[in-house]
């Protein structure tokens, strides 16, 4: 397994897209968060907005970079036919999937940590000027939002790896992952019944997963923060399981 990890790590670091995509993810996370934090106001002297969530609000955009990275790590091999070489070098297919998932999610978590810490720093500097307390990771809910945001990005990476392994074609895989993340919430909006709206909202991987960032009015969320991240984790696990089963069952390409 160590050798499979080493091989997948070498692959990921020697392909052109990895560095730029992760850099873009970090920049987008920090820039979006800082820009939105800078627009915070305290209407009627009440500073009641969720400043922490707003500080980390670059994730819905930067997650697309992470999804792309994950899909390319798998779909790129199907696109070029290199998957045959990979499965010749590492014939245990479960091991190939596990190594890919671990390396992509691990690297994403590192980049995610950088992005979240930089955003937190930005929040610390910007928020006092807008009438809000400086963002502090010593605060329980704030720490949960920060750590949860890193995990969120890693889980999106796993979702991308699993879906790409099942779908194979890079373009179709991207469409599937982004559709699941961005279109599912629209589905929830189209339902007028409040009960169903709540259920669909809680099942949408992006909405449910980002509940972990909420620090104000937590009780009013359709799903509690960690449970929401759990929903995303379930989607990722299901995608990996489907990808793994198909990888075992089908011919290599």
């Amino acid at each position: 397994m160590n050798r499979a990890l080493h091989a997948e790590w070498t692959k990921l670091r020697t392909v052109a897209g990895t560095g730029p995509l992760l850099l873009l993810a970090v920049v987008l996370t920090v820039a979006m968060g800082a820009a939105l934090a800078a627009t915070l106001t305290c209407p009627w002297g009440r500073c009641a907005q969720d400043s922490v969530k707003l500080t980390f609000s670059g994730l819905p955009v930067s997650q697309a970079c992470v999804a792309l990275l994950a899909v390319l790590a798998v779909g790129g091999e199907y696109g070029t036919g290199m998957i045959g070489t990979t499965l010749t070098a590492i014939p245990r297919r479960g091991r190939v999937l596990a190594a890919k998932a671990a390396v992509v999610a691990g690297l994403t978590a590192v980049a995610g940590t950088v992005a979240v810490l930089a955003s937190a720093l930005a929040g610390r500097l910007i928020l006092p000027g807008r009438g809000y307390p400086a963002l502090s990771l010593a605060d329980g809910p704030t720490l949960r939002a920060a750590a949860g945001s890193v995990l969120y990005l890693a889980l999106v990476a796993l979702l991308g790896v699993g879906i790409a392994m099942a779908v194979r074609d890079p373009a179709a895989s991207i469409a599937a992952v982004l559709g699941l993340l961005y279109l599912f919430p629209l589905l929830a909006h189209m339902v007028s019944d409040p009960g169903w709206h709540r259920v669909l909202w809680s099942l949408a991987p992006m909405n449910a997963g980002l509940a972990v960032q909420t620090t104000v009015n937590v009780a009013s969320l359709p799903i509690p923060p960690w449970a929401g991240l759990g929903v995303l984790a379930a989607w990722s696990a299901a995608a990996l399981l489907a990808g793994g089963l198909l990888l075992r069952a089908r011919d290599a390409s």
């Binding site: 050798r3 020697t14 392909v15 070029t80 036919g81 070098a89």
Partner: protein, 307 residues
Amino acid sequence: MEATIEVTGLRKRFGRTVALDGMTFRVPPGRVTGFVGPNGAGKSTTMRVILGLDAPDEGRALVGGVPYRSLEEPLTRVGALLDAGALQPSRTGRDHLLWLAHSQGLGAARVDEVIGLVGLGGTARRRAGGYSLGMRQRLGIAAALLGDPPVLMLDEPFNGLDPDGIVWIRGLLRSLAAEGRAVLVSSHLMSELEGTAGQLVVAGRGRVVADMGVAELIEAASHDRVTIRTTARSRAMETLAGAGATVAVTGGDTVTASGPPAERVVELLTGGGVPFSEVTAHRATLEEAYMELTRDAVEFRADGAGR
């Protein structure tokens, strides 16, 4: 590990197309075995099954007595070149070899060794997307040699190589076999294997049409025909026919006799006082021998009369 490949009764369908129909052969160590046959004969599919990439519907393929998928560090047991174009274009050739090496617990030193071995040199540090087909083949061969494996399997390694490259790879294949390795090389052009392969497995329509030594195959296709060049055509024909040969006119001053070997033909003509300027035992080329074997096995003939 014994250096062999054994393929037994492989069957596989892709939808309604029968790709493999009882493919059975053995690749022994110490010689180059040519795996030839027209396109669509099942050569590549067989190789993919041997490597555990495709699962057969029936039958089994063993490498050194065990299924490929049960091997740990498989590249140190079997080196394979299947599709030289299967490269990530933005990765350099050296980095491609490097991840393969890491997957087997090998280091960068071995990578640089095989880069030198296949003559890729400084090209290895350029992005693979810019490689010519010949450079990709060399990179693919470097990947196959990476783990110094006792079994090698190369699918159409001559494709895209310039004449120098073809001469080089023939020498390489011969020396690898001389070191006691089992070497299986597929090709749809028989002439590429002439002088390299010692054994031939001829495939057609998903099964083995012939499995024999190259010398034996050429012998069988030559039919003991002797060509005689003479100014006394009719006397030569009379003399040879009288000795039981089947004689045919093939040109203004040439006749062909089948039956007696060339030595006997010379003896007969000399004995009968027939003048001649040339007696040649006709020797089939590998190409001719192969054409004769696969005549019935090709799926689509050149005239378009598909069966």
